[in-house]
Amino acid sequence: MATEMEITELRLGLPGGNSHMKEKKRVYSEITNSDQNSSNVNVNGDVYYMCQNKNEVVGWPPVCAYRKKNNFNGREGSKMYVKVSMDGVPFLRKVDLSTHKGYSELVMALEKLFDCYGIGEALEDADKSEYVPIYEDKDGDWMLVGDVPWEMFSESCKRLRIMKRSDAKVIGLGARDFLKGMSENK
C-alpha cells in the first residue's frame, strides 16, 4: 500500500507498475557499489560535492565540470530551491525560497506556478480552505505552512506539497490532525 510519501513522488513508466523503476535503481547501485576504482582515484573534489550518495559514479552523467560548477553548486547558500508537488498534478515544480520575503509572496508564486488561485486561503483558515499547503521539515515531519515564523520555515523546509482537501481522506479531521497522522506513518 503506497504511503503518502510515495504519492508525492513523480514516477515514470506504466501507471501502477513500480517494479521496473526499482530494477533500474538496483542496477545503478550495483554499478556504484562494485565500482572500486572510483573510491581510490584522486579526482577533483568537485565531482562529489553535490552528491547525496557517496558512491556516485565519477564523471556521470557527462556534464562538464565547468557547467556543474556554475549550475548545481555555484553560489552556495544563496539559493534555496525546494520541490513543490500538488495533488492531482503529475509534475513537480521548484521554488527558490530565498527569493521570497514572506508567506504571502511564496503563496503568490505557488499560485502562479500551478495556475491555481485558492492556496492563499489556507494561510487564513487551514481547516476550511480547499488547498492546504504543507511542508516537510528537516526532521522529516510534515507541517502546515504558515505556523512558524518565515525565517524558521525557510531554513527548515525541505519540500512543499499542496494538498487538495477533497483528495485527502480527512473527513471529520482537521488539517493538523491529518498531518500528525502522516508524520506518524513514516
Binding site: L12, V27, V43, P62, L113
Partner: protein, 578 residues
Amino acid sequence: MAHSFPEQVLKHLFSFLASDKERNSVSLVCKSWYEIERRCRKSVFIGNCYSVSPEIMIKRFPEVRSVTLKGKPHFADFNLVPEGWGAYVEPWIIAMSRSYPLLEEIRLKRMVVSDESLELISTSFDNFKVLVLLSCEGFTTDGLAAIAANCRNLRELDLGESEVEDLSSDWLSHFPDSCTSLVSLNISCLGPEISFSDLERLIAHSPNLKTLRLSQAVPLEKLPDLLCHASQLVEFGTGAYSSEVRSDIFSNLEEAFSGCKRLEGLSGFWDVEAAYLPAIYPVCSRLTSLNLSYATIQSPDLDKLISQCHNLQRLWVLDYIEDTGLQALAASCKNLEELRVFPSDPFLPEPNVILTEQGLVAVSEGCPKLQTVLYFCRQMTNAALVTIARNRPNMIRFRLCVIEPRAPDYLTLEPLDAGFGAIVEQCKELRRLSLSGLLTDRVFEYIGTHAKKLEMLSIAFAGDSDMGLHHVLSGCESLRKLEIRDCPFGDEALLANAAKLETMRSLWMSSCSVSFGACKLLAQKLPKLNVEVIDEMGPPDMRPESSPVDKLYIYRTVAGPRFDMPGFVWTLNEDAKH
C-alpha cells in the same frame, strides 16, 4: 608537370584552399608541391598536442601565422583525467617565440597555460591578434594583464570555459586607451570581481566590438550603460540577469536592447529574474543563437521567450523547457539546426521535470534542418529513436544521454540497440555519436555496418563482450576518436584491430577490461603509437600482467614518447623512460 607552373602561381592557387584536409592532399601530390605548400601554409591545426612536437611543426611550416592546439582527452571534461596529466603549452610557446615572430593567432583547447606563457606570448609576437583559451587552466588574471598591456593589435580574447585564478580585478585597466582593435571579448568564465569602469572604458574605445560575453559579476543594472557604447554588437552574453524588480531598470534595459540592431546571438543569463526577460523581446525575432543553459527559468516565461525567436538556428537550454516547451519550439522555430538540452538536476533520483523522449521526437518532426543534438533525459524508447532517425536523416551529431546507466526502453524493457541502429542506418552523414542506455553487442554491429562517416564515438556502460569493440574498430572507416568507459571490452578486440589505431587520432578506455600485458604488446607491435596507462594505484608492473588497467589512452604520434608525464602515467614504449 610541376615545372610548368612557377612557384608563385602555385602559391597563389594554394591560397584558395581553406581547409587543412585540402592542403594535406595537395602536399601529397609530388615533392615539389609538398615543398611549395609547406612554405606557404599559414594555419596549422593539431588535434592532439602530443602527436607532434613544436620542432617538427616549425621545421615543416616556417610561415605559420595561426596555430590551434588541443590537449587533454575529451573525458577530462568529466574529471576522468587526473590533475597533472599533461597538455602543457609552454614548450610550444617557447619554440614559437623563437621561430614565429609574425605569429598572429593562438587557439588552445584543454591545455594547461601558465602566466609565464601568457607573458611570453604578449612580448614575442608584435602582430599578435587572437588568443582563444577554451577549457584551459593554470593561469591567473596577471597573465591576462600582460596580454592586455602588450598586445597592441589584439582583436580577439576568448577565455571560453577556462578556469582562471582571479588575483585582481584591475587587469582590464592594462588595456591602453590607444587599443581600439578589439572585435571579440569573452570573459564569461571570470569570477566575482570586476572593475566596471575599466570594462566600460574598454568597450567605449572598441568601436569594432562584435562579440562581448560578460562575467557573472556584471550586474543587470550596468547592462544599459555597457550596451549603449556597443550597439553594434552581434553576439552578447549577459552577466547575472537579475535585480530588484524596478520599472526604471526595466525600461533602460529594454531601450538598450532595442538599440542593438545587429544582435543575433544572446547568452549568459545566470540567475534569471523572469520579470526582466521581456526586455529582450525587441531583439528576439533577429536571434539566430540563444544560450539559456544556465538560466533557471521555467514555463510560461521560457516558452514565451522562445516562441518569439522564429529565426533561431541554435538553442541551448535546461530541461526546464520540458516536452511542452519543445513542442512549442518545434512549432515556431523552423530554422533550428542545433538543440542542446542540459539537465537541471541530474543527481536527483527522481525527475524534477517532464522532459522525455517525446520532446525530442517533436523537435525532430517540426524542425527540418535539425542536424546537431545533445539531449539529457531520463527515459527513452526504441520507437522514439526510430522515429527521430526517420524524420531526420540529415542528422550529423547525435549525442543522447539517458541519465540512468544501462536504462532500457522504458516501455518494452528491451535494450536500445534497435533505436540507435536506426539512427546510424538512416543518418548516413552522421559524424558524431554518443550512446547511452541499455545496449548489447548488437548496437555495435549496427554501428560497424552502417556508420561509415562516423568520426567520433562515445560509449559508456554498454556492450557484452569484445565483439562490440571489434565491430566498431573493424567497421567504422572514418573513425578518428573513440572514447569508452565502463564497458566489458578487453584485450582480444584491441589486439586484433591494432593497426586501426594508427589511423585514428586517439582511443580512451577507462574501467574496461584491458590487461597490462595487452598494453605492452600493443606498444611493442605499433611503435608509432603512444600507449599510456593512467593508474593512480601504483605502477602497473607491480601487478600481474593479466590485471586490467584503470585508464588507457592510446594515440598516434610522430614525436615519440613524451617525457612530461606525472608519476601515475606510464608510457609503454620500448625507449620510454618509464
